[in-house]
């Protein structure tokens, strides 16, 4: 059955490498999807105030669009979109009073009561496709690539929307094992990268990001896999600043999990837009002969 795909704003621009690689995987895996028409930005962070329903309107509108299409599932790729949509959905499902207020406020829209299921591509792979089926599709096993799975916050917390155990998750490990990589577990896998503090307190954010990367390197990782454009910004893009500020820092490629999947499924490397990753990222994949020398 067809599902809705919710891209979110960053995936259309700065994180094109996340979207394009994922869509190529959808095609290979036969996922029947449609990009949600008239989607709007979900707001990136879920409102944590009891008296603030206004910021729940945006994600609920997106969920109403999904329901209108007659789809029972909406797929997300960005961890923060996932979290925001999933939490808004839980609220509409479980809080009768707030549901009533929100539905009444949006009187131009059909009523919504959490009928749609919000999924992230990672749990879709686990629960709908299944690891065994996925393994059968692997054309280029990523053997000997030592990857540290990085979850960050919003795939795992709070519990009501967690893809897996908040403190001991295994979903990304299993995913990476299925691709053939050598998984490097490290204690910082679920530690926040600093998130939006890159704006409020950039030095503090830089230091926590450095701690995470250092931990991965120390445990023997050659690369990091993640699912969130903000994590990628803090841990990938800001690595130059990290390398300049911390003498013990070492460069380490950072990939979206979908890019590694796209390579393992044998898609054209062009769909993964590695030019948006750090320069060393594509080099590492070439040196392991997962992709050919001409791909940029």
């Amino acid at each position: 059955m067809k599902i809705s795909y919710y891209p979110g704003c960053t995936l259309k621009t700065k994180a094109k490498n996340l979207e394009r690689s994922a869509l190529a995987c959808f095609d290979v895996l036969g996922i029947d999807y449609e990009e949600l028409p008239r989607w709007n930005c979900c707001g990136a962070v879920y409102s944590l105030a009891d008296d603030d329903l206004l910021h729940i309107i945006a994600p609920v509108r997106d969920l109403i669009r999904v329901k209108e299409r007659g789809h029972d599932t909406v797929m997300t790729l960005c961890s923060m979109c996932y979290n925001t949509l999933a939490r808004a959905n839980e609220l509409m499902k479980n809080d009768e009073k707030k549901r009533y207020t929100i539905n009444t406020f949006m009187d131009e829209e059909p009523d919504y009561a959490g009928e749609v299921k919000v999924v992230h591509f990672l749990d879709y792979l686990r629960d709908v496709i299944g690891w065994d089926k996925l393994r059968e599709q692997i054309k280029v096993p990523l053997n000997d690539l030592k990857v540290a799975p990085y979850y960050g916050c919003t795939l795992l917390r709070p519990r009501e929307v967690a893809l897996d155990h908040p403190d001991n998750p295994t979903i990304m490990q299993t995913f990476l094992e299925t691709l053939g990589t050598t998984v490097v577990n490290f204690p910082s896998a679920t530690v926040c990268c600093g998130s939006y503090q890159v704006l409020g307190n950039p030095d503090a954010a830089l230091k926590v990001s450095h701690g995470i990367l250092n931990d991965a390197v120390k445990h023997g990782a050659e690369a990091l896999a993640l699912a969130c454009p903000l994590c990628d910004y803090n841990l990938g893009f800001r690595q130059d600043a990290i390398l300049n500020n911390f003498p013990d820092a070492r460069e380490i490629p950072v990939y979206y999990f979908t890019q590694l999947l796209a390579v393992a499924l044998g898609t054209d490397p062009a769909v993964s837009h590695f030019e948006l990753n750090r320069a060393g990222s594509v080099q590492l994949l070439k040196s392991k002969k997962f992709i050919s020398g001409t791909a940029s």
């Binding site: 704003c9 960053t10 009891d50 503090a204 903000l230």
Partner: protein, 135 residues
Amino acid sequence: MPLEIIKFSSDEKYKKKVMEISGQNFHKCYQCGTCSGSCPMAEHLTILPRRVMALLQLGVKEELDKSNTPWTCASCHTCMVRCPRGIDIAKVMEALRLIRLRQNINQIEPSNLTKKEIVGLPQIAMVSGFRKLTS
């Protein structure tokens, strides 16, 4: 060690406001310190989350007002999933932020971002940062 006895009055209005906005009862906190020990931003906070709870219980608004803690918290929810008393500490931090932001005081000024920053930052950073740190 001599104990110093200080005089202060509990700001009940402030306490009520934090409870209303967060929907959390910080009086349930029994000061175990799990939140402070779990916080990734701990070394950058002037008051650790455990002490935020204690100060709220006592209603010491002035101390909390001076603290950078709500502005340095990354809403990562680690404290919240681990609190044995089931307190959503991330929501308490949001309430502390909102009490200030709702007076129309911005913590960061979007107009002060340089062109380079605006071009370089992904939307997700700006949307989330502005949501959390501007009024």
